[in-house]
């Protein structure tokens, strides 16, 4: 089997688009961190990108069926690792998300658990061997995913745990969940929302409230939302030019190199730049979906669609937050935000897609 693998079969357009987005990200990180204590983040990001490419290649080589076979082990390891972050995790930004590694690098376990979730959903739905997903199986699968999701939420990292649920929902939808169940889930969600709101941490509540009405406390929790909208709006049609955005350069924009990198980009490159980059993302997701359509089997299709769901969800939450249409949940923009864990997790996800693509010809 391995000998049929050809370098020509790698999804080069997808890779090219990804590298373009990464390049834009590196430039924006450079602009946003000039004269700050993170001024070396841009070349670190370059290193991470190349490391990410290596990781992608590594996961491409291993047949995804073999990966699927080992999902139980990966799942157990993931849950243990997430629990472990409680013990050895380091307090950064008020959340225990990180495991310190050698060389001052902090690994965010929950980012890599996303991949396990994708594989888990793919294997579970494939093994059902049905075109329909009944409620019992749905609840079982949900239970499996809720364990790591709850652990991540406890960190507390609401944004990342929601990505797990996004993968589950898209998987269940593709797996043939009946419309009436979807409607039921929607109803239950609406009913449960007030209860779950009361379970949120105070800062999360404040974020939600300030999302509804950011001007209510412009200096407090609404600050990030307002500053982000000001940055985007000030960009106008063509932007203020690289290194010239006052919101970014004078640091009124919070974390302009990670979660709010797209605000910084929008300020400096304007609506035109935004359309160009969003087009790249759109094509990227559509390429992933196309790979799902051409997958050799269902498990491959589920893997690709899981990655597509992951990317789309990240776009919706992160960019939506940047334009003030989503609450501040603190999840990064794929391939642009500075930081190794998320970047590698995304490269690994693309590696999974290429993995499926390389093995799309059934012989």
């Amino acid at each position: 089997m391995a000998r049929y693998l050809s370098r020509r079969d790698i999804d080069w357009p997808l890779l090219l688009i990804t590298m373009l987005v990464c390049a834009v990200g590196v430039l924006q990180i450079y602009s946003a961190t000039r004269d700050t204590s993170w001024h070396d983040a841009w070349w670190k990001q370059v290193v991470y990108v190349f490391a990410g490419l290596v990781l992608m290649w590594m996961i491409m080589v291993v047949d995804y069926h073999a990966l699927l076979r080992n999902v139980p082990i990966m799942y157990i390891l993931s849950v243990m690792a997430l629990a472990g972050t409680y013990i050895i995790g380091k307090q950064v930004f008020g959340s225990r998300r990180w495991i310190p590694l050698a060389g001052g690098f902090h690994l965010q376990v929950s980012e890599f658990v996303k991949l396990v979730i994708i594989l888990l959903v793919a294997r579970y739905l494939t093994e059902l061997k049905k075109d329909e997903l009944d409620l019992k199986e749905m609840l079982k699968l949900s239970g499996l995913i809720l364990v790591p999701a709850m652990l991540v939420m406890k960190q507390p990292d609401l944004g990342t745990s929601l990505t797990y649920l996004a993968i589950l929902i898209v998987g269940a939808f593709l797996g043939g969940l009946r419309w009436k169940y979807i409607a039921a889930i929607a109803v239950v969600t609406v009913l449960v929302l007030p209860v779950s709101y009361s379970l949120l941490k105070p800062y999360q509540k404040a974020r939600l409230v300030s999302f509804m009405d950011p001007e209510r406390d412009p200096q407090g929790t609404g600050y990030q939302l307002i500053q982000s909208q000001i940055a985007v709006g000030a960009g106008g049609m063509f932007g203020k030019g690289p290194l010239k955005g006052t919101q970014t350069q004078l640091r009124f924009l919070p974390v302009p190199h990670t979660d709010f990198i797209f605000s910084a980009f929008a300020e400096e490159h304007g609506f035109v730049g935004v359309i160009m980059v969003l087009s790249l993302y759109f094509v990227m997701i559509m390429r992933v979906v196309q790979n799902a359509q051409t997958a050799a089997d269902r498990s491959g299709m589920y893997i690709c669609m899981g990655v597509g769901a992951l990317l789309l969800f990240h776009m919706l939450i992160n960019v939506g937050m940047v334009v003030g249409r989503m609450p501040v949940t603190g999840i990064p923009l794929p391939f642009m935000s500075a930081g190794g864990s998320n970047l590698w997790s995304n490269f690994l996800a693309l590696g999974l897609v290429n993995n499926v693509r390389l093995r799309r010809f059934v012989n």
Binding site: A66, F173, A266, L312, G320
Partner: protein, 671 residues
């Protein structure tokens, strides 16, 4: 994460799952739905950017600028106030003011800030709220005159309270001990009511304006125009770049006609007494000295006055904020007699030979009017009548002249209307007449009332500055200049004039000379070498009968007046002293004498110095003239002018002022 490579076997897939079941076509429709959802999500995101970046980018651009561009005021220093010799009376000194940058102020910060800076929290909160309606670039100055402890607090809390901004400022420094306080006045932050009035329409909240006295009168001159510095700041308030500077325009200095030497003497003379002193140059209207007691410390107003100090001053029953020199309306008492005499002479109702007998009192219209000298003065003419201030004589003069003639001449000398001095809130006094009574009381005038007015009692009231102006103009023969505090007036002042018979004037003035020099009531005002003329006055506040019946103390004691001028025939200075509850005019006379003595002593000293200087320069010029340089034509050197004593102000006088100008702190002692 990376698992050991497993060699995938093709059989696995083929055997485990039947081909038909394992194709992906069953999900094709759902994948299409996912694609539509993706399109919808991207459109949703793009519409967000469209709304912000394309539909109203100006709105957000302005807000971005509000974030980053801060305007910091550069406070313009107020002009200094100098005395007639150029000595500094009111100066500024550098200090720091603390303002809140409104863009980043948080209400929950106000409490710790108030505690750290020793401010009243409720005051501060109210202040911040009051500025809410103002545009954001208007700063709130929350404390002036920062102490080193305040500066340390601000510096160490810069990270916690980025809204605190220090700006250098100039603060007013007034003379101590309340010297000249009523003339200079004070400054203060513009109030809400003032902002609404048209007079202050061009000012903004937070501006410091003159509130009282000269500070208010010449506010437009003294006040500069604040500048502004526009700077780019980052989110911590660090200045990254200065975009533009509009420099502050300093206020202009003004020079007063006040002579600090005379002022100091007058202040000392009034020490511990209530009342007022006014010294004028009758030839020009220059106010040389002006004292009002009790006084107040203007330095308490220089910063924001605190509520307790304000209450203390306004609740004081003696009204320290009243400038008695221009606002005290009191019966002039016997100081009015020279004007009664003048009115009698000018109207022809008496002549200088008019004689009466004083037996200690006289009856008019069925009522007995006493003379202050119970034993009587005997045979009295004009001269002796003024010298001894015989009441009976002036009852007769007044009675013959009539109230309306008295009122006419009282108006001629300037009573009953403001003198036009350049200070706010001048009082006008009252000159009673038949018309006046009819208009104000709808009653006819009783002839008996004329008798009281003849000796400066009854409804007649004057202010000290009116009296000084009246006597000075009378002594000059009928030219009444308008008193003023500004040395160089913008417009030439036109004096009030009335043609008086010189003989009549001489008769009155000689009488007043007699008051001081011929054993009259004003002997205590006598000066060697200077012909001082003057008049005492003892004005009753209540009838003496009433006073006897009660034990009411000071409150009802008579006011003592003295008005004097010198030299007799060419007056250069006229001084009025009002010594409230001083019981007798004789007690006010020494105050006037002290001020006059200071004036003539200084004049003598200056002319001596000027003569010496003249002699020196003459010697220099002659030595230059005698130099014989070969090849150089002899230069015509103008002969030096002879110094004219007294009129030689200007260059010679300036030379006398020592280089290091004395600071106007405390009373300047007599040299």
């Amino acid at each position: 994460m990376i698992l050991p490579p497993v060699e995938p076997s093709p059989e696995l897939r083929v055997s485990e799952s039947p081909r038909l079941r394992d194709d992906t076509r069953f999900a094709a429709a759902k994948i299409a739905i996912f694609q539509y959802v993706a399109v919808a999500i991207f459109l949703f995101l793009i519409s967000g950017f469209w709304k912000l970046e394309v539909k109203n980018p100006q709105f957000y651009d302005e807000r971005a600028q509000q974030n980053s561009i801060k305007s910091v005021p550069i406070l313009a220093p107020r002009g200094r106030i100098l005395d007639r010799d150029g000595r500094v009376i009111v100066d500024n000194h550098s200090s720091f003011s603390l303002m809140l940058a409104r863009e980043s102020v948080k209400e929950e910060h106000l409490k710790p800030i108030a505690q750290g800076l020793d401010l009243d929290y409720n005051d501060l909160l109210a202040r911040v709220r009051r500025f809410k309606s103002q545009p954001k670039y208007v700063p709130i100055v929350i404390k002036e005159e920062l102490t080193p402890a305040d500066l340390a607090f601000v510096d160490s809390h810069r990270d916690f309270f980025p809204e605190l901004v220090l700006i250098p400022a100039q603060r007013r420094l007034y003379p101590q001990n309340g010297m000249l306080a009523h003339v200079i006045g004070y400054t203060g932050e513009i109030s809400e009511e003032e902002l609404d009035s048209p007079e202050f329409a061009r000012y903004n909240p937070g501006d410091v304006i003159g509130k009282f006295g000269i500070e208010r009168q010449y506010n437009a001159t003294l006040m500069g125009v604040d500048g502004q510095r526009q700077q780019v700041v980052d989110n911590r308030g660090n200045v990254r770049q200065v975009i533009g500077i509009k420099p502050a325009i300093a206020g202009k200095d003004i020079q007063l006609s006040i002579d600090l030497d005379l002022q100091a003497v007058a202040e000392l003379a009034m020490d511990g007494r209530n009342g007022a002193v006014v010294a004028l140059d009758p030839r020009t209207g220059d106010v040389l000295a002006m004292v009002s007691r009790p006084t107040f410390d203007a330095n308490k107003f220089a910063v924001r006055i605190n509520a307790q100090d304000w209450k203390e001053i306004t609740d004081n029953p003696e009204h320290p904020l009243l400038n008695r020199a221009i606002q005290a309306q009191q019966a002039p008492g016997s100081t009015f007699k020279p004007i009664v005499a003048l009115a009698g002479l000018e109207t022809g109702s008496i002549d200088d030979q008019f004689t009466i007998r004083c037996g200690g009192g006289a009856s008019f219209y069925g009522r007995y009017f006493r003379c202050w000298e119970k034993r009587g003065h005997g045979s009295i003419k004009l001269h002796s009548g003024i010298v001894h201030s015989c009441d009976v004589y002036f009852y007769n003069v007044g009675n013959r002249t009539g109230i309306d003639n008295l009122a006419f001449y009282a108006n001629v000398v300037g009573f009953g209307r403001a003198t036009g001095i350049d200070l706010p809130h001048e009082a006008e006094g009252v000159v009673p007449s038949t018309k006046w009574k009819l208009r104000n009381f709808r009653q006819k005038w009783y002839a008996g009332e004329t008798i009281s007015v003849s000796i400066g009692q009854g409804a007649l009231t004057v202010t000290p500055v009116q009296l000084a102006r009246a006597m000075g103009g009378l002594a000059l023969g009928g030219v009444w200049h308008h008193p003023h505090l500004l040395k160089a007036l913008d417009q030439a002042e036109t004096p009030d004039q009335w043609k008086l018979n010189p003989g009549n004037v001489k008769g009155v003035v000689d009488g007043m000379y007699g008051v001081v020099n011929e054993g009259g009531t004003g002997v205590r005002a006598r000066l060697p070498n200077v012909e001082v003329a003057g008049k005492t006055g003892t004005a009753q506040l209540a009838s003496n009968d009433y006073l006897k019946g009660t034990s009411a103390g000071r409150k009802l004691k008579d006011n003592a007046w003295f008005v004097g001028f010198a030299p007799r025939h060419a007056p250069e200075i006229v001084v009025v002293a009002l010594f409230e509850h001083g019981e007798h005019g004789q007690l006010a006379a020494p105050i006037v004498r002290d001020v006059m003595k200071a004036y003539f002593d200084k004049k003598a000293r200056l002319s001596a110095a000027a003569e010496e200087e003249q002699a020196k320069s003459l010697a220099r010029l002659t030595s230059v003239r005698n130099l014989n340089i070969p090849g150089l034509a002899p230069v015509a050197v103008p002969a030096p002018l002879k110094p004219t004593p007294g009129a030689g102000e200007g260059a010679t006088l300036q030379a006398e002022v020592p280089e290091g100008r004395p600071r106007a702190s405390g009373l300047v002692s007599r040299e």
